[in-house]
Symmetry: C2
Subunit: 136 residues, 2 copies
């Protein structure tokens, strides 16, 4: 079982987002176990991210993949992955040092929308890796 | 009042997506009027898009903007805009001929997720154009 942690700032208040994310998590049951952690500010996020052996930071200036490229990237990461999504001010400078930086889009997304797009792309990646049809 | 049409294939069945889109539409009340139209297949979509004076087609191979660049793009379009989002097989070839092509990301999104990201970015663009704070 792959374990994916997502660290971000600010809890989700939007019910629609919780529903959407739960739907993608459900589709990945048995293959990927998600753990989402929220921190109250960028400083706390950076402290927690520093405890991880390696992190993948989401940043609009990071590397952009197409979906098959992202599937290859995911497959190359092994069985443990930690993604870090910054708050309204983006990622703390201190965090930008380690590991690959990933961009979902050149556009700026809220951290809520980033989390949804990230989980949807992780689900899409596994449909490509496992050769299963994308559930619509 | 700006009028924005979004033409796409396949009606949204996900309640979370309807809620999310309604939230962004509400925030733009008085500034932007949205009209979303769904067609049952790419052929019908192409026929309807052909009736529009000009269309902006969403395509992963289109031009990518950052959010301020997208705000400039939106501002330059005048008071009527029609966005076209293709179905699972992407845009019909016939439609790729006219007008600018816009990419939200190098990644492939479902047409549902594309619609949400597009409307969120339109809302974000108007906060930049009007100098109003982004509601979180």
């Amino acid at each position: 079982m792959i374990k994916i942690k997502i660290l971000s700032v600010g809890k989700t208040r939007e019910k629609w987002l919780e529903t959407a994310i739960a739907e993608f998590e459900k589709r990945l049951t048995g293959q990927v176990e998600f753990e989402c952690k929220w921190f109250k500010n960028d400083k706390r996020l950076a402290e927690e991210a520093d405890k991880e052996p390696s992190v993948i930071c989401l940043d609009p200036e990071g590397k952009e993949f197409d979906s098959p490229g992202f599937a290859d990237f995911i497959e190359g990461q092994g069985a443990r992955m930690t993604f870090v999504i910054g708050g309204a001010e983006g990622l703390p400078q201190a965090l930008r040092r380690s590991g690959p930086q990933l961009s979902l889009s050149k556009m700026t997304f809220t951290h809520q929308l980033s989390r949804l797009v990230l989980i949807e792309q992780i689900y899409r990646a596994y449909t490509l890796i496992k050769g299963i049809p994308y559930h619509k």
